[in-house]
């Protein structure tokens, strides 16, 4: 198969459609995925049955999602503890099996909060920037909005993404359950470098503490590498609107490609120093316990990763044409290619990548597949521009053990049985 990943999908001609492609098959395959949307595509389909046109609802100040679309996040208290009382939830997972393209709707962006979502009045909120600086300064939201801004599409991923599958695979999990702790939004804000210049950072300061205004005062030490100095920014905008409260309103740190926890929400303090502070989150929490009992610390970058979102866990498919699609992302930069196997990792084919492919943003991939109705396993494997390849599960576990909890990026395998039921399996 020719590599056509550099051609925008929408510009490909009709001749790209494979033999056997038909709209009816596509719809049949998709019913498991978006049943509520295509409900009513029953046997005797006639245009005569389509309801007549009618005058619609009044125009409003903002528009709601269609009542026919049932789509929501799933709050979770711990691996395997789902649909819990909201007061027990520590995160809420994005329905990546029901989304298109690569941008996550703001209200469906995954959430990890350590002490609830604070109600912050932007008029009263302040950001203190101090420590090893010449001029410690206090900023409000209007100050930030008046500064030169950047906008950037970037993924944020909780280091706990994938934590369901460390030790075993529950066959009843959806891809929302296994991989719903990653999302991609466009964020707008002020480059960290601009703030650093305003306060006059001491050249001997190599680390920065970023602290949130949530009850827990979540705080992380951030090494001021050239990459981070070039790319980090303090955001006040999310997908064109002010940040949602769950995502840090009125301001948050954005650290493209790095652990979600470093993207401190409700940012209220940046302190410059010359060493890490060893906060609870970078010692006791977001460190990865290895098989030998030692824990890896400051594994700050998110890894090269991908997952097939359709067909995926709990879906039911029929023999014939399938559109295999999914998402790939890497904290190292751009996704270079995604390969898909439909025979249990024996052979691989390169999938198409939807453009634009952006650095440290989720990239949509897709591939045509004719399922012959025989049991098989499907999986995707991402490679990024730095040459990092997503590891197979056996090598990954051999290296990491099964106690790490965080930074799981092994290949995700979906098993399909003879009835077309798709299940989560380890490999």
């Amino acid at each position: 198969m020719t590599n056509r990943s550099d051609i925008p999908v929408e510009k490909r001609g009709a001749n790209h459609e494979p033999a056997g492609f038909s709209r009816r098959n596509l719809i049949a395959a998709a019913t498991g995925l978006v049943g509520s949307i295509v409900a009513g595509r029953a046997t005797a389909d006639s245009l005569a049955d389509v309801p007549p046109r009618e005058v619609g609802a009044d125009l409003g100040g903002h528009s709601e999602r269609s009542k026919y679309v049932k789509i929501s996040r799933i709050p979770e208290a711990a691996p395997g503890k789902r649909n819990v009382d909201p007061s027990d939830a520590i995160n809420s997972k994005t329905p990546i099996d029901k989304l298109f393209g690569s941008i996550t709707p703001s209200d469906l962006h995954y959430e990890r909060s350590h002490s609830g979502v604070p109600d912050l009045d932007p008029v009263k909120h302040r950001l203190l920037v101090h420590g090893m600086v010449r001029n410690p300064l206090v900023f409000n939201v209007d100050d930030l909005k008046a500064m030169p801004s950047v906008s950037r599409v970037a993924f944020i991923e909780c280091t706990g993404n994938g934590w369901e599958n460390w030790k075993k695979a529950d066959e009843n999990l959806t891809v929302q359950n296994t991989h719903g702790l990653v999302s991609t939004n466009e964020w707008t804000g002020v480059p960290l470098k601009f703030l650093i210049d305003l306060v006059g950072k001491n050249r001997n300061s190599t680390w920065m503490l970023a602290e949130g205004g949530d009850a827990a005062g979540v705080a992380r030490s951030i090494p001021l590498t050239d990459e981070i100095l070039d790319e980090a920014f303090v955001a006040y905008g999310q997908n064109g609107e002010p940040l949602r409260p769950a995502h840090g309103f009125p301001m948050r740190l954005i650290m493209p490609g790095f652990e979600g926890n470093l993207n401190i929400k409700w940012l209220r303090r940046l302190k410059f120093g010359d060493r890490p502070w060893m906060t609870r989150w970078e010692t006791a929490r977001y460190t990865q316990l290895r098989a030998n009992g030692k824990a890896t610390q400051f594994q700050l970058r998110m890894e090269t990763n991908s997952v097939i979102t359709s067909p995926s866990g709990t879906m039911l498919i029929k023999p014939g044409y399938q559109r295999v699609t999914g998402l790939a992302w890497s904290g190292h930069g751009k996704i270079a290619k995604v390969e898909v196997s439909t025979d249990g990792a024996k052979s691989w084919k390169e999938a198409q990548l939807n453009l634009p492919v952006l650095r440290k943003a989720q990239t949509r991939f897709q591939m045509d597949w004719i399922w012959d109705g025989k049991p098989t396993k499907i999986l995707s494997r991402a490679t990024d521009e730095k040459g990092n390849v997503q590891p197979d599960r056996k090598s990954f576990i051999a290296a990491m053990g099964t106690n790490a909890m965080f930074h799981y990026n092994a290949l995700q395998t979906w098993s399909i049985d003879e009835t077309g039921r798709v299940r989560n399996v380890l490999d």
């Binding site: 650093i196 005062g217 906060t279 090598s395």
Partner: protein, 181 residues
């Protein structure tokens, strides 16, 4: 670090090109008194620890009043994180990560209690009570004796049992890490 100063220089040039305004057009100077209100972080060398002190005995009462409801009477068996025990489990199939078995720095314990606990009223404990309850939790983990006491001098000197249990990621590069193993 030369790369940092280079980055600073580049930033300064970018600033000069992008924005002709003066620094104080954005924000206002922070006063020492207001910085002190918010400057709560504590480092492993003890920098940031406030004056004050607390005993294991007093900490037992602070714990009963503020912590036991979620963490259990002796830091075990509560509905939230277990704080005590777990020694020797880190390399097993069921590791138990507690303050005693896993946390590498006693200063982190003070910092975390002081900023984030008790969950419903973070920051409500005085410095004395925070030293005391940290002392009590360390006592429950056999790190401090029953007559133990903590202050800004003694706390950073405590060597936690798992102090050497952490290995930093070299240059944050998972691919390097993957090859190494």
């Amino acid at each position: 670090m030369s790369s940092t100063s280079k980055a600073l220089l580049t930033g300064a040039i970018a600033l000069a090109l992008v924005s002709p305004v003066l620094a104080y057009d954005f924000g206002r100077p922070a006063t020492p008194n207001e910085i002190a209100l918010w400057d709560i972080d504590v480092r492993p060398d003890g920098k940031g620890l406030p004056p004050g002190s607390g005993t294991v005995a007093h900490g037992k009462q602070v714990f009963a009043d503020n912590c036991a409801a979620c963490h259990g009477d002796n830091g075990v068996g509560g509905i939230k994180d277990r704080l005590v025990g777990g020694w020797g489990t880190l390399a097993s199939d069921a590791p138990v990560k507690t303050v005693g078995s896993f946390w590498p720095y006693a200063t982190t314990l003070f910092d975390y209690i002081h900023r984030a606990m008790p969950y419903q009223a973070p920051g409500s404990l005085s410095s004395d009570d925070t030293y005391a309850v940290a002392a009590y939790i360390l006592h429950l983990n056999d790190i401090l004796p029953p007559d133990g006491k903590l202050d800004r001098d003694s706390l950073p000197k405590i060597k936690m049992p798992n102090r050497d249990g952490f290995v930093p990621e070299p240059e944050f590069d998972p691919a390097e890490l993957f090859r190494k193993k």
